[in-house]
C-alpha cells in the first residue's frame, strides 16, 4: 500500500503539489489523470524519490521514504521518455540493468519476447526508433517482477499492436496482485483498464474514486464528458 499524506512540492514560486493526501491500495489499478502541469509526473516522481518533497510524507508498505533506495527494488517504473546511453546495444542495456541487482533470478521476460526485442538486441540504442525505445523501456519496467508498477503515459508512441500487448500485460499483472499506477491522456484506456481514478487539478485531488462514481458525480453520461466537466471546473 502506498500512503501519501500532506505532500507538498514547490519548484521555486510554483506549487506543483499542494497538501495532497491519498492511499493507493495493494492490487489496485489507479489511473492518474489531469490536465498538463497538474502535478501527475511530480507525484509519480515523488513516490520514486526522484523529486524531494517540500513537506509531507510518503510510505510504501509502512516504510517511510527518506532518501533511502532499497524500496525501489519493489517498483517498476516506465518513464514518459525513454533514453539510454547512445552507444550501448539493446542487450547491453538489459544486462546492465540486470547486473545492478545481483542475486535476482526470477526475471519476467515476457514483454521482451512479445515485443520481439530479441532481433533488435545488437542494435545500438541511438539507431532505434522512438517506439522501439519505448518497448525497451516497458520491458525494463516489468523485468524484475515488481510489486508496484508506475507507468507514465505507457502507450504513448506505441503502435496499436504493441499498445494492446502492453495493456494485456498490465491487466494480467494486476490479476496476479500487482499494484499499478498509470497516467495517460487517452480516455478510452481508462474505461478499459482502470478501476480507480485520481483526478489532479493544480496539484490537488479533485476526485478520487471509481469510474462509476466519477460519472455519477458529474451527472454526465459518459466518462469523457465527465472528465471534461471536471476539467472545466463545473
Amino acid at each position: 500500500m502506498i500512503e501519501i499524506s500532506n505532500l507538498s512540492k514547490n519548484f521555486g514560486a510554483l506549487e506543483a503539489i499542494k497538501n495532497l493526501s491519498v492511499k493507493i491500495q495493494q492490487g489496485s489499478i489507479t489511473y492518474l489523470v489531469g490536465p498538463n502541469a497538474s502535478g501527475k509526473t511530480t507525484l509519480i516522481k515523488s513516490i520514486l524519490g526522484l523529486v524531494k518533497p517540500s513537506s509531507g510524507s510518503i510510505t510504501i508498505n509502512k516504510e517511510r521514504l527518506n532518501g533511502n533506495h532499497e524500496y525501489r527494488s519493489k517498483i517498476g517504473y516506465m518513464p514518459q521518455v525513454a533514453s539510454f546511453p547512445d552507444n550501448l546495444a539493446v542487450q547491453e542495456i538489459f544486462s546492465m540493468i540486470k547486473n545492478l541487482r545481483e542475486g535476482f533470478v526470477d526475471y519476467d521476460e515476457e514483454l521482451i519476447n512479445l515485443f520481439k526485442l530479441e532481433k533488435e538486441k545488437n542494435k545500438r540504442l541511438k539507431n532505434l526508433s522512438g517506439g522501439t525505445k519505448q518497448k525497451v523501456n516497458a520491458a525494463i519496467a516489468f523485468l524484475f517482477n515488481p510489486e508496484i508498477l508506475i507507468l507514465d503515459e505507457p502507450t504513448a508512441g506505441l503502435d496499436p499492436v504493441s499498445s494492446s500487448i502492453l495493456k494485456d500485460k498490465i491487466v494480467s499483472e494486476n490479476k496476479r496482485g500487482k499494484t499499478i499506477i498509470f497516467t495517460s491522456h487517452i480516455l478510452s484506456e481508462l474505461e478499459e483498464l482502470a478501476k480507480e481514478v485520481i483526478f489532479l487539478l493544480e496539484g490537488q485531488i479533485r476526485f478520487n474514486g471509481t469510474i462509476e462514481e466519477l460519472i455519477n458525480s458529474t451527472s454526465k453520461h459518459n466518462l469523457e464528458r465527465a472528465i471534461a466537466s471536471i476539467m472545466k471546473g463545473d
Binding site: L50, F84, P85, L100
Partner: protein, 263 residues
Amino acid sequence: MNILAKIIRYQIHDISRSMWLIIYTLFFLLTSYGLISFSNNIPKVLVSLMNITLIIIPMVSIIFGTIYLYNNKDYVVLMLSQPIKRTVLYFGLYLGLVIPLAFSFVIGISIPLILSGKNWLEHIAVIVYLFTSGVFQTIIFVSIAFLISIVNENRILGLGLSIFIWLCFAVLYDGMLLLIIEFFQDYPLEKMLIGFLFFNPIDLARILIILKLDVAALMGYTGAVFQKFFNTEWGIILSLSSLTIWSIVPLLIGKSKFLKKDF
C-alpha cells in the same frame, strides 16, 4: 563486482564507442606524432605538447562533460528509479567519463613517443608530469562541467557557462594578470601574483611541468615569479596539492547538489 564498478564499466563501453572520443584520441596521436617527427629535441616536443594539451584538455573535458550529462538526463532518471544510491550513481557517471577521457590522452601521447625510437626514456620524469597535469585537467574540468549541468536546468545557459569558464581560465585570466601588472607596475606585485596563481588550475598544471623542465621563461610572468619565489620541490608540492583541492571541491559541491536535485 560492486555497483559503482558496474556503472563505470557500462559507461566506458558507451563512451569509448562515441565518435567524439575517437576524434579526441586521434587528435593526440597526430599532434604527438607530428611534433616528434619534426624535432629530435624531446624536451622541446614535451613543452609544445604541454601547451597544446593545456588548451585542449580543459576545453574538451568541460564541454563534453556538460553535454554528456544534459544528453543523458533521462538515462540518469532511469538509473535513479533503480535501487541505487544517488552518491554511487554520481561517482559512477563521473568516473565513467573521466577514465576514458584521461586514457585516450595518455594513449594518444605515449604511442607515438614510444614508437619514435627517440631517447624519450631520459625524460621520463617530465613525461610523467605531463601526464599528471593532463589527467588533473580532465578530473578538474569534468567535475566543473558536472557541477554546471547539475545546477542549470537550461542546457544552452549551461553550455555557454562552460565555454565561458574555459575561456576565462585558458585565455582571459592571464590577460587580466598582464593588465594588472601593466597598471600597477610601480608596486611590488610578486606575492599577490603568486596568490592569483592558485585560482587557475591551468596555470598550476603548467607550473608543474615547467618547474621540472627548468624553462621558466616559457611560462609567462606568473610562472617566472613562481619559480623565483619557491624552489622546485616546494613549488611542485604546492602546485600538486592545489590541483588536488581543485579536483575535490567542485566534485563534492556537485555531489551535494546532485543528492538534493529534483529530476
